[in-house]
């Protein structure tokens, strides 16, 4: 995806703030899917969006706010050209090394049966992803997905 496309004009947006309870994973998916429906995505495209979003939200719950309950800030924007930009932000513990965290199968939570595939799924199911993080301050994951529609 070209940089200029990622900076396109925002045609519609939605903001959602949810506490990091795991039950809110499904609620986040449902809300974002409902919002993106206006682009008339295919079932597969909607599935990709829901999956990528679910991974980012789950990371906030499992890792960012591992020992506490915090807020997850979700922003979804529709840009020109049918591009969906999803931003998932937390004010949790942050990621010490983003490059390491993004490696397939890497996880800090083996006991929780984490597959370590979260970032791999996000990267594979979207067209572009950016991750910024500061230890002790939080993490923001921004994902872009072009919807070609039905």
């Amino acid at each position: 995806m070209k940089r200029e496309e990622m900076k396109g004009i925002v045609q519609n947006s939605m903001r959602l703030v949810l506490p990091s309870y795991s039950v809110n994973e499904g609620i986040a998916r449902g809300a974002v899917a409902a919002f993106c429906a206006q682009l008339d995505p295919t079932v597969a495209e909607l599935g990709d969006i829901k999956c990528a979003l679910s991974e980012a939200v789950t990371n906030c719950i499992v890792h960012a706010y591992r020992d506490s309950i915090g807020e997850i800030y979700i922003t979804v924007e529709l840009l020109e050209g049918g591009i969906v930009r999803m931003k998932v932000k937390d004010r949790g513990c942050g990621i010490p090394d983003v490059k390491v965290a993004r490696a397939p199968l890497y996880t800090t939570d083996r006991a929780g049966e984490r597959s370590g595939m979260g970032f791999t799924v996000m990267e594979s199911f979207t067209d572009a992803i950016r991750v910024s993080s500061r230890e002790g301050r939080g993490t923001t994951v921004t994902m872009y997905k072009r919807i070609l529609g039905r």
Binding site: G26, G47, S54, T58, E113, S115, M117, T120
Partner: protein, 114 residues
Amino acid sequence: MLKEERLFSFEVSDEEMVVKLLGEMDHHNAKELRGEVDSLILEYRPQRVVLDLSEISFMDSSGLGFIMGRYSLAKELGASLVLRAPTSAVMKIITLAGMERMIKIEKSIKEGDV
């Protein structure tokens, strides 16, 4: 024997246990399912565990973790684990993980392997 549970149903016959997962497989549901399914596997000690995915409408990487956990338990008990009838969306994430190289996947009871 057929028993209905909230997130899954299961059926035990001869040496096979079929666990049909229902709804969405995410981190929240996987947490709840894990203990219940493990308890059944440990109770019945089947030779073959079938995870029926035909009614899973959504699965993220937490579902992969769930499957791997049950695969490890089955292996520890000397049993095999098979995935049955994953939808195309679920198959996409299974393939991304390369899981089909490790775990047998059946299209359905009648149609055989994927």
